[in-house]
Symmetry: C2
């Protein structure tokens, strides 16, 4: 069977099983694993702290096009997607290692611009770039490993959602996908809209502070939106053995997206991906505190239920089911 | 300027300077950096321990050919090259994160074989694979990040060599390059030689235990041989501000390589690369202890001097200079 037939999530499951057959020789310094393969961020206990580590790759013409993204934006985004994984577990980032594969005819100034963009976001989030690897390759490919800590003994997990929890999202999902469509299809909008949508796709702002507050206040489950809101909510449902009821009319859609994409905006918000906003669940009291205390927009968009099978149902504000093309982002199946 | 004109080491220097302009917001948990960009392994103090992290990428048709390496061997080698970086600093490996980019038509059984090969070496060295990332790409590319600890407060560094130190190497450098030539040019040897050379190139054995003993006994400087013996010895000379005098006739060359490659064996040993043996320096007393106590072959091959410029001189056993094609491995310039 080809990996494109199995799909990304099938492959991850299979590899997790292969690896779980590994029984490392434990020695006194071998710490205790809390989160392993299959989650966004690995976590383990060591010297009474919780250590975090996450890795993400961006591959030319799969994750980005050098025809639309600048090298500086690419540097920003490469680290941002990793920061978002640390945000989704409620952690604090620390050190980064950068592996950069480049064609030999890449301009040195472009590589410096890449590092400057990465430095920019690194400085804003207190990340120190400590090492890496550069090598020749036919296409540009970036793999960043980000290490961090949890200041709390608790972590945000995909698996913590409980029936009755409210479901909420930070920011405006769909904006990144709108930016992608604008650049791919060379749609012409006014300058403000163009900048807003370009930044949404190329300079996402990881919700590090918000993730830490969610842990502190006791949110039940969280994930960052990389695959698309529905697809990522399904990850929560599957990990938590619950279902979700999503109120499509409650979706927070950015005015720029609403204005320029009309009816399509809802589909972008539900399936777009690459928003790097936090999707989370919490009981009513905690959700009220979150909405009061967290500075970025937080919108309640549905509720966790105990219905089987573990999936996401879409409803309008009259309670009628809504149908939508729900194809999510699968790195092996997608043709996006 | 193109990166191929600047070269790998020029690029690393430039990127280190770009990154050193980063001043992360230090907070109470921000630990203390000991080794940053430019060395094989980053190191920092945290909770009174020394943490280590290294990353290495293997790119299809740059670092390996699927026409000669099996998927299981590729899994082994991908982790081995990272283990070797931890060995070179004298550390103990712990956790690994694996980022795997694959064409969609890759067979699932091949990916499983890759993970099994990686598991095999992981188990032998007490490594736990805790996470990663899989994505679609036009070619196979593997980036592994390996985290570790130092049990000692000391580390093996490139920069510790002192005039008068003896220079030694573990194992038999040149064997991996001999394996590469055998497979690339389809040279026909007997079965024992074929297996020996194939394993030297595809299943290198990282010198983790030996690296830890070298720290314990007080070796002055070390590096693992990835770029080639001369090139890596030059890295030590440049970092330590010393020169080196290499006795070519002392080079330990594996009998299989000597028998099948004749006069070419010396050049393979000096410039071949990818041996993942340890090249290190120590004073006479420590070197004697190392030779007595370490179980793998250890051969003294020269001496550190205070001559300028900081480079490696080659001599025969009569003290006459030896000339050799000294081109090392540069990931951006090489056409290997």
């Amino acid at each position: 069977m080809k990996v494109s037939e199995l799909g990304e999530f099938g492959l991850i499951d299979l590899l997790a099983k292969t690896v779980s057959r590994t029984k490392p020789n434990r020695h006194p310094r071998q710490p205790e694993l809390i989160v392993g393969i299959g989650d966004d961020t690995a976590a383990w206990k060591e010297d009474s702290s919780i250590r975090l580590a996450t890795v993400d790759s961006l591959v030319q013409d799969v994750h980005f096009s050098l025809e639309t993204i600048s090298w500086s934006e690419l540097g920003w985004k490469s680290l941002a997607v990793n920061l978002s994984d640390i945000a989704a577990i409620g952690g604090a980032p620390g050190y980064a290692l950068v592996s950069l594969s480049l064609p030999g005819d890449t301009q040195v100034e472009d590589v410096v611009a890449f590092y400057e963009g990465m430095n920019d976001i690194a400085q804003r989030f207190g990340v120190c770039i400590v090492g890496g690897d550069t090598c020749r390759a036919p296409i540009v490919s970036i793999t960043i490993t980000l290490l961090g800590n949890s200041r709390s003994q608790n972590l945000l997990r995909r698996s913590g959602a409980v029936p009755g929890d409210m479901i909420a999202v930070t920011g405006y999902p769909g904006s990144a996908a709108a930016g992608f469509e604008m650049m791919t299809y060379q749609l012409q909008f006014n300058e403000e809209a163009t900048t807003c949508l370009r930044n949404a796709f190329h300079r996402p702002w990881p919700r590090i502070t918000e993730g830490q507050r969610l842990v502190e206040y006791g949110a039940a489950a969280a994930i960052d939106i990389s695959d698309g809101l529905i697809a990522d909510l399904e990850h929560i449902c599957q990990a938590s053995h619950v279902s979700a009821r999503l109120e499509v009319d409650s979706l927070p859609i950015h005015p720029v997206v609403k204005e320029n994409f009309g009816e399509k905006a809802t589909r972008l918000a539900l399936t777009g991906g690459e928003d790097y906003e936090l999707l989370f669940t919490a009981d009513v009291n905690i959700m009220n505190k979150v909405k009061r205390e967290i500075q970025c927009p937080v919108t309640v968009i549905g509720r966790i239920t105990d219905e089987e099978p573990y999936e996401v149902g879409l409803f309008d504000n009259s309670g009628n089911p809504v149908k939508i093309d729900r194809s999510g982002w699968d790195h092996f199946k997608a043709s996006k």
